[in-house]
């Protein structure tokens, strides 16, 4: 077991969005939020719809800028990075899984995973090998040449998991990864995700409504009234 170290640190982060109408007050989404995500631990963020869970994930991944506060990723100041540095960080140190698997339509399962490895600068040969290994690991060794529309929802989500893990990232950001799946497939994806995260000692930041799913994480934060509170 690796020593627990902070991979991601949010310190007094606030975020508001401009009002839609003229002269309206900005809508405050997050206020003074502080949390840390550690290597080889899973952290769930729960809360009601519209409570700012996805916004928090996007700020944590550097996809959205915060109004105030500090964000450190692997000890480096995330808001201070330029586009190129953030792209490099996303390709090598972050993995993403969303409710809709977001695969590239014109590409096969194997190519979807391989492209992710190639973006992270792996040579084509290495990327192919990594992609093959990952797809076999998630049980899709017989679906390599199937395109997105030839895969079931559960299979697409397993491809997304393989793609998120192929570059051995520090953190997986998962936003409702089982939200669009039936109970059976949701359970399969949950089990797969936790087993791979534990085996590979990757940090997991999980956004979910599902308290049972959240309950399997090491740490649960609840977003309520723009603030975050530790539940367990």
């Amino acid at each position: 077991m690796m020593k627990s170290v902070d991979v991601l640190n949010l310190d007094h982060v606030s975020k508001s969005f401009p009002a839609t109408g003229q002269g309206g007050e900005p809508i405050q989404i997050l206020e003074d939020v502080s949390l840390s995500i550690q290597r080889a631990t899973s952290t769930a963020i729960t809360g009601q719809s519209g409570s700012g869970k996805s916004t928090l994930l996007q700020i944590s991944a550097g996809l959205l800028s915060a109004d105030t506060g500090n964000i450190k990723f692997e000890g480096k100041d995330l808001p201070g990075m330029n586009d190129e540095q953030r792209s490099r960080l996303r390709s090598r140190s972050m993995g993403f899984i969303f409710q809709n698997s977001l695969l590239l339509d014109d590409f096969t399962a194997l190519e979807n995973v391989k492209i992710s490895a190639m973006i992270a600068q792996s040579s084509e040969h290495v990327a192919l090998k990594k992609a093959l290994d990952m797809l076999k690991l998630v049980g899709l060794g017989d679906r390599l040449d199937h395109k997105s529309d030839q895969l079931s929802g559960g299979e697409r989500q397993r491809v997304a998991i393989a793609r998120a893990l192929v570059n051995e990232p520090s953190v997986i950001f998962a936003d409702e990864p089982t939200g669009s799946l039936d109970e059976h497939n949701a359970q399969l994806v949950e089990d797969l995700l936790f087993s791979l995260v534990e085996d590979r000692e990757v940090a997991l930041m999980l956004i979910t409504h599902n308290l049972n799913f959240a309950g399997r994480c090491n740490l649960i934060y609840r977003l309520h009234n723009r603030h975050v509170e530790v539940r367990s």
Partner: protein, 390 residues
């Protein structure tokens, strides 16, 4: 690594192992751009060939490539590059027939005047000429003959105009020619050099018409001037015609370049369309950590490859159409459409490579710039926007 990734993404844009829709879109655009380029290339070849054809008619039948004057001097030397030298006398003449009259430029020429080079520019009809007649023979154009309503063998009267007065002469129509360019034919007739010499008692306006290999034209002209002759070129003698031809050619090239520019702009619309349709996919690649400049280069190379293929296909199409132009023109000429009667429809096709290259390069340059500008929209795509779709 970037190259391999770029290659994979570009090949998929072209529909390789990709969707039928992508293939259809690319093929449709290649077809559209090829047709525009083909039309531009064909039109430019047509205009330049026709201009060159008209210039050739004027040079070979009107004045020669060089018109050499030298009072009391011998015939100019047959220098390297010279193809033919003919002594020519010229005057203006009124031609009378029972049905009408016509003022023309009459050229007195020897039998050897209508050599292979000149005969290649005209169709000569000798018909059933009366070989027993002692009357002087003249060669009219079919255009003049139609206007005067005469045919080969008919008698006409000439009134030759000179500084010293008017000289009447009864003649017979010995033959008819047709150069295919009525503008020239309508005012040009030929008679024997001897007739002019006799009528004007050796005081006729005469000169030598010299045909030369055009690559040697300047050298031959300079040499004759050195020898003391007064020399003019066909375009100096026909300044208005020559200027009009050049201006028309430049104007048409200008229009072609503007159309090529518009086509280049249209190509940027293809890149805009591709990016708009692929927004979600682009956002997804950005989310995975791909750089904007890599994505931009994928679309840039895709569109430029489409452009390059289209330009090649279009140019070949234009050349193919132009190469098969003669039968079409001959067909149109044979139909004698009144609206086309003063257009030259019988000319050899020439390939203006510089003009074609100009059109192609302008199109490529405009499309490079406009596609680059159009692709700035890629920078505005937010990686997280891929989660907004569906």
């Amino acid at each position: 690594m970037k190259q391999t990734l770029r290659g994979l993404l570009i090949s998929r844009k072209f529909g390789y192992h990709g969707s039928k829709a992508a293939k259809k879109r690319i093929l449709f655009n290649i077809l559209l751009i090829s047709l525009v380029v083909g039309a531009l290339v064909f039109a430019q070849i047509f205009v330049v060939s026709m201009s060159r054809g008209i210039a050739d008619k004027y040079a070979l039948l009107g004045n020669g490539h060089l018109q050499v004057h030298g009072d009391g001097m011998d015939s100019p030397a047959f220098l390297s590059g010279v193809l033919d030298i003919q002594a020519v006398a010229q005057s203006y003449a009124l031609i009378y027939s029972p049905q009408g009259n016509k003022m023309v430029k009459l050229k007195g020429v020897n039998d050897s005047y209508f050599n292979t080079l000149r005969l290649s520019q005209i169709t000569m009809q000798t018909g059933n000429a009366d070989t027993t007649s002692t009357l002087a023979k003249v060669t009219l154009s079919t255009t003049i003959a139609d206007e005067l309503q005469v045919a080969v063998g008919d008698r006409i009267a000439l009134m030759l105009v000179s500084d010293e007065g008017i000289r009447p002469q009864l003649c017979v129509v010995g033959s008819l020619y047709d150069s295919g360019y009525k503008e020239l034919d309508a005012n040009l007739a030929f008679c024997d050099y001897e007739l002019m010499d006799r009528l004007f008692k050796g005081e006729q306006d005469s000169y030598w018409e010299v045909l030369v290999d055009l690559s040697e034209l300047d050298a031959v002209k300079a040499e004759y001037i050195n020898e003391g002759y007064s020399v003019t070129t066909w375009d100096q003698e026909n300044y208005t015609v020559s200027t009009n031809l050049n201006t028309s050619r430049q104007a048409v090239l200008g229009v072609m370049v503007v159309v090529a520019m518009l086509c280049g702009y249209f190509i940027s619309e293809l890149s805009r369309e591709l990016v708009e349709d692929d927004k979600r996919q682009i956002a997804m690649l950005l989310l995975l950590g791909s750089r904007h400049k890599v994505i931009k280069s994928v679309y840039f190379y895709t569109v430029m490859l489409v452009t390059f293929v289209s330009v090649c296909v279009g140019t070949l199409l234009g050349l193919f159409l132009a190469a098969n132009l003669s039968p079409l023109l001959s067909f149109i000429a044979s139909k004698s459409f009144p609206a086309l009667s003063y257009y030259l429809l019988d000319f050899s096709v020439v390939y203006p490579l510089t003009d074609i290259l100009t059109i192609v390069l302008v199109l490529m340059a405009v499309s490079i710039v406009s596609v680059q500008i159009s692709l700035r929209r890629v920078i505005r795509i937010d990686p997280i926007s891929c989660t907004y779709f569906e």
